[in-house]
């Protein structure tokens, strides 16, 4: 993006040189004296920019500083302890970190294939008249509040999704991932009391998160796919390729960075998704691979559910958990930005 110093803008284009001469073009230095108006403007803008830097930076700094007393108090066990029992001073975020990653990854498993296919549909299958409409709907979907998707999953999807989960665990329960620690031969409406059921699982929470991250992933991928060189596409078609063969040989290799970058951005969003997850899951602090089984917890659901009763020490523990979450999303987003900007079109989609 445009990182050039402002003086370069003022430069006249360099005169044409023969290609063999090895003299580098050096932009001549222009010393423009700012008028009073400009001086005021430049300094105001710089002041506001630095103010925002201070505000925004202090948030990160504050979160980081808050985690020092927590780490001093709980030590490394803060990261290895899976229980969250403030009353007994046993606090750790191992379970919520695992839960956060589980929910996000399951959501990615649904959202990424759907996003790739939808982006391909928009760029290469849909008639040109339909394209703006489709793009508009995807953008609108990005603005739908998470709580609405939460309600939707809770009421419309969960009753059906538990049936599917029950079926999967009945037939594929020997895979640890799909195991549920209850008697799968009981029908769904007659679960033995005291045993985990299928509602409120990481799987079902991930369905809500899928709806939240799908639009972002799709729009990143669509933008990159849309920049695939038309000449090469036409060439593939002219050689007799089917549409899929054209997409496989031209669009997908070209759009690989878009797929990876879109996936990473979606992952960053999925990690921090709060309210739709809080609505759907039944909170349980436990490290387990059983994604279809009721009960899980994420960092954001932990914060949302326990900030109210927190003492100052626990509040700083929550802030530490939030800081860990922030570091995770920051890492993922930075990777995504690097990957997306490496693609030929260097415009990251607006978030």
């Amino acid at each position: 993006m445009s990182g050039e110093p402002p003086s370069a803008v003022l430069d006249a284009p360099a005169p044409e040189e023969p290609a063999t001469v090895d003299v580098d073009d050096v932009p001549r230095i222009i010393r423009a004296r700012h008028s009073l108006q400009d001086a005021v403007f430049v300094h105001t803008a710089r002041g506001l920019g630095l103010l925002v830097l201070v505000i925004v930076g202090s948030i990160g700094l504050f979160l980081g500083l808050q985690s020092i007393p927590t780490l001093r108090h709980y030590g490394l066990s803060f990261f290895t302890e899976f229980r969250w029992l403030p009353s007994q001073d046993v606090i750790g975020i191992a379970a919520v970190i695992v839960g956060t990653i589980q929910v996000a990854l399951i959501a990615l498993c649904f959202a990424v294939p759907l996003a790739i296919l939808t982006a391909l549909f928009i760029t290469d299958w849909a008639p040109a008249r339909l394209r703006p409409l489709l793009i508009g709907v995807i953008d609108l979907m990005a603005a739908v509040p998470g709580i609405v998707f939460g309600l939707w999953v809770l009421f419309l999807i969960q009753p059906h999704a538990t049936l599917v989960a029950h079926w999967i665990s009945k037939h594929f329960g020997w895979i640890p991932l799909f195991h549920v620690r209850t008697d799968v031969d009981f029908p769904l409406w007659n679960q033995a009391p005291g045993y985990p059921s299928y509602a409120g699982s990481a799987f079902i929470a991930a369905l809500a998160v899928t709806m939240m991250i799908f639009p972002m992933a799709t729009s990143v991928m669509r933008e990159v796919f849309g920049e695939a060189p038309a000449g090469e596409k036409e060439a593939a078609l002219a050689l007799g390729a089917t549409r899929w063969a054209m997409v496989r040989t031209v669009v997908l290799p070209f759009g690989r960075s878009g797929i990876i970058g879109g996936t990473m951005l979606a992952l960053g969003r999925a990690l921090g998704e709060t309210i739709s997850v809080v609505l759907v899951i039944s909170q349980a602090f436990e490290i387990k691979p059983y994604i279809l089984e009721s009960g899980t917890a994420t960092i954001s659901s932990l914060i949302a559910s326990s900030y109210k009763e927190a003492s100052p020490a626990q509040l700083s523990a929550l802030l530490t958990a939030g800081f860990v979450l922030f570091c995770m999303t920051l890492l993922v987003n930075s990777l995504a930005a690097v990957i997306v900007s490496r693609s030929r079109g260097n415009e990251v989609s607006e978030l």
Binding site: Q37, I147, G268, I275, G322
Partner: protein, 351 residues
């Protein structure tokens, strides 16, 4: 634009009657087969299972029918095409059910006029829909939106102007930090304001705190989006302005910002729409009141997402329906903002 020599891509869709008949045959055959086996012979039930089973059977039928007359590459193309059409269909069906479900379930409450003109003070959960409404939440949302507009928008645009137009020392740092902070999960922004303003500074839970939390969340997003928009302004316009003797301030104020205005407005409104729908920051900072309060500095102030969350958490079926009605209103608010953004963006294309 010259209208003489625009190369038109050749039309690649050439459906023969055989293709259409194969498609129709596969659809009819797969529906009949799936219905027979799924509902009559095998011990299976459930809507999602039916759709999945139907899709698999359909793809198999379609592939076999195509394979009878076409080479393998065409078969692969057809199979992929079904997937490319299925993914957006699935997503748009899901989105449609989200909207329909919300409006349908909220209709009993929405159809009473007092739902928009009164608050919930003194209304019990079981009271009929002729009593109580969401005026307090609606007004709270508008006020919190106003605070976010007043804080995040000017600072965001000023930062973007600094990063893209002024530059100089510090602009790189500001850009890095702002980009990093776009990764801040909304719940962590809420927790930050909760800790700093409510716990340390002793502010009451209020609309102001909620507005601050939303601004904290929206500021980096808006700054980044505005920066992207400003980067798209052609450099030639700036150079022309400088060449005519304009100063920096005049160039930014008279050339860059007016050129970028539609894009800026779109980016800012979409950022706002996202902030309005966020529940997590509001949940931590504003407190779910039941009474009307238009003073953001004092007393709890409800907002639409929070009303939905709280009403839903109360467990009463009447309140759940009010939650759906409020969700429909929230969707309408987001949709209005979105249409507004589109309207502004559309004007740019006409020029």
């Amino acid at each position: 634009m010259s209208d003489t020599l625009i190369e038109q891509p050749r039309r690649t869709s050439s459906r023969t009657r055989e293709d259409l008949l194969a498609l129709a045959g596969a659809v009819i055959g797969s529906v009949a087969t799936t219905w027979l086996f799924y509902t009559q012979i095998l011990p299976t039930s459930g809507a999602i299972g039916f759709v999945i089973a139907w899709y698999v059977v359909f793809v198999v039928f379609y592939a076999v029918l195509t394979w009878l007359t076409q080479p393998l590459t065409v078969v692969v193309d057809r199979v992929v095409t079904t997937a490319v059409f299925a993914a957006p269909t699935l997503i748009f069906a899901a989105l449609a059910t989200v909207v329909v479900m919300t409006v349908w379930k909220g209709l009993p409450a929405l159809s009473h006029w007092n739902f928009f003109t009164s608050d919930m003070s003194g209304v019990r959960a079981e009271d009929p829909f002729t009593k109580g409404g969401i005026l307090h939440a609606l007004v709270g949302t508008l006020i919190e939106m106003g605070i976010a507009i007043a804080i995040a928008m000017p600072l965001g645009v000023a930062t973007a102007v600094f990063m893209s137009e002024v530059g100089g020392p510090g602009s790189r740092l500001v850009r890095t930090v702002v980009e990093a902070m776009t990764a801040l999960p909304s719940i962590v922004a809420g927790l930050f304001i909760y800790t700093v303003c409510l716990v340390y500074l002793g502010m009451p839970a209020s609309g102001l705190a909620a507005g601050l939390a939303l601004s904290t969340m929206a500021l980096p997003i808006m700054a980044r989006a505005s920066y992207v928009v400003l980067g798209v302004v052609p450099g030639g316009l700036r150079e022309a302005s400088y060449a005519l003797g304009a100063g920096k301030w005049q160039t930014v104020w008279r050339v860059v910002l007016p050129t970028a205005r539609p894009g800026l407005a779109t980016a800012l409104i979409l950022g706002l729409a996202r902030a309005v729908g966020e529940t997590a920051p509001v949940l931590l900072t504003s407190g779910a009141s039941t009474y009307f309060n238009s003073n953001p500095a004092k007393d709890p102030m409800n907002s639409l997402p929070l009303f939905i969350y709280a009403a839903f958490g109360s467990g009463s079926p009447q309140m759940a329906q009010r939650a759906y009605a409020a969700a429909a209103v929230l969707l309408a608010v987001v949709l209005l903002l979105f249409m507004f953004a589109r309207l502004i963006a559309g004007r740019r294309k006409l020029r």
